[in-house]
């Protein structure tokens, strides 16, 4: 098992050296990247919107439940605590974990299907660097669009929290907004999350692509690769979250 793990790391590294080469035709690269932004990014907006709004609402309710017993704690602290939770962890990490499921399985299954139907062999026979042609646009699309999704998720999470707090009578909308602005530090509350989102985007794109690109067999193996892509991406995100949190906050 340990040997397999290190062989896998080596194979992943070799694949990445093939991916990060100059594209044969920039025109086709741009076209593929736009297509991937649509497929992997824009098509994920819906799930990110729903998830973020409800996540913000739930965090606000939970925080209010914890803090409301003590009359000495001002209510805008509910908003401050919500902001910290949303911008530091929930938006960058939880949304990326959800995207690892949606986008990761899509990448692995599409590449896996291309592998077992000999479409990748067809590219190789033509003299195309198939890893570069197929995987680089996916990684670039992820790197470009994931931070935008995370920014949007932060905003919607905070909005959802303020709306839920107001509707349930826990904290007035204006008070939430004031609480969000109190002791707001751009690096800690925005840049930190964006740095994480870029790292997670690379993990989702490259780990899922590795799982799909290296499939051997048929439909069953494509399904297994798709599952592996999600599991490996989630594990890598959690491990890198630990490292990044330590590096960036300490």
């Amino acid at each position: 098992m340990i040997t397999n793990f290190f062989e896998g790391i080596g194979a992943y590294g070799v694949l990445m050296t093939k991916v990060f080469r100059k594209p044969d035709r920039w025109k086709l690269f741009y076209r593929s990247t736009i297509k991937e932004i649509q497929l992997l990014g824009i098509d994920s907006i819906g799930i990110v919107v729903i998830l973020s709004v409800f996540m913000g609402a739930i965090v606000t309710i939970q925080t209010a439940f914890q803090l409301s017993d003590d009359p000495l704690i001002p209510t805008y602290y509910i908003a401050m605590a919500t902001r910290e939770s949303i911008t530091l962890e929930f938006s960058p990490t939880v949304v990326s974990l959800i995207l690892a499921g949606k986008v990761g399985s899509n990448i692995a299954s599409s590449l896996g299907t291309m592998r077992v139907t000999e479409q990748i062999d067809a590219l190789e026979v033509m003299g195309v660097n198939s890893a570069n042609f197929l995987i680089l646009p996916k990684i670039v699309a992820q790197l470009f669009f994931n931070p935008l999704l995370i920014l949007m998720s932060m905003f919607l999470g905070l909005w959802g929290g303020a709306m839920a707090g107001d509707m349930l009578g826990l904290i007035a909308f204006q008070e939430s907004i004031s609480g969000y602005q109190l002791e707001f530090i751009v690096f800690e509350n925005v840049i930190y999350g964006l740095i994480k989102s870029v790292v997670y985007a690379f993990i989702i794109g490259s780990v899922s692509a590795y799982s799909g690109y290296t499939v051997k067999g048929g439909a069953v193996e494509v399904g297994i690769a798709s599952t592996n892509a999600v599991v490996r991406s989630c594990l890598a995100i959690i491990l890198s979250n630990y490292v990044l949190t330590d590096l960036l906050l300490n």
Partner: protein
């Protein structure tokens, strides 16, 4: 012309190719036949350069494949057309986009020239009107024709076909065989076809080699194959009832 000299290929303990020598001539449809497990597919992929041979040489018009520079090997790939068993069409692209892909990737043609070339090859393989359809929307026979059109769009010098008739009805199979034969002669290509189909052998086999256990066992042409006295060839060719009757009729 493609020359294969003393090719050996093993996968771990499995010695698949055991010293194959053969010359494939330009303008001829060269067929490789043999039972499953005889090494045909590994042989084809080794000639293509998808597998590295353990021993021996593959020579494309005087140039040894293993001694070519990276640039030359890449250029050679653009001179090769390949028809895969399942078609291997890009399912996210339409028929026209599939055929146009190699041109966009490697040629310096203008948009108009590419359009003209796509139209020409589509007409050549009788695919008029299918340009905006996706591979999933067309029949197996049409998919094979699209695959042929894509393979010849760059005017290749070498055409490789892996089981071009698998999954096709006998009538469509003959159409595909004839198409491969016609374009081989028309464009002067060196064509190598990997097949199980004895009808293909008789229809288009300008040059036939029979493989068994990683060896080339027999070599000849379509008219000689029915008269061969080689026991392995006889066993393979006259396995079916139809061909047994043909043999009786010949005698």
């Amino acid at each position: 012309m493609i020359q294969v000299k003393g090719i050996h290929k093993s996968f771990e303990d499995n010695h698949v190719l055991k010293g194959v020598d053969v010359d494939f001539h330009r303008g001829e449809t060269n067929l490789i036949i043999g039972s499953s497990g005889s090494g045909k597919t590994v042989f084809l992929k080794t000639i293509l350069g998808l597998h590295q041979p353990d021993q021996g040489q593959i020579i494309y018009d005087g140039e040894v494949l293993s001694e070519m520079s990276k640039q030359r090997a890449k250029k050679l790939r653009q001179e090769i057309g390949m028809l895969f068993q399942g078609g291997a069409l890009f399912d996210s692209m339409t028929v026209a986009q599939n055929i146009r892909f190699p041109l966009e990737m490697f040629s310096e043609m203008t948009e108009h020239q590419m359009d003209e070339r796509v139209k020409f090859v589509m007409n050549r393989v009788r695919l008029e009107g299918a340009d905006s359809k996706f591979p999933s929307e067309i029949s197996g026979g049409m998919q094979k024709r699209v695959s042929i059109a894509r393979a010849i769009s760059m005017s290749p010098k070498y055409l490789f076909c892996d089981e071009p008739n698998s999954g096709l009805d006998p009538e469509t199979a003959i159409v595909i065989d004839q198409l491969i034969h016609e374009i081989t002669h028309e464009f002067g290509m060196t064509t190598i076809v990997n097949t199980h189909d004895m009808n293909s052998v008789l229809e288009i086999g300008d040059h036939v080699i029979f493989m068994k256990g990683g060896h080339k066992v027999w070599e000849g042409n379509s008219s000689e194959v029915l008269k061969s006295t080689n026991q392995d060839v006889e066993e393979y060719v006259f396995k079916s009832k139809l061909f047994k009757q043909v043999r009786q009729a010949l005698r």
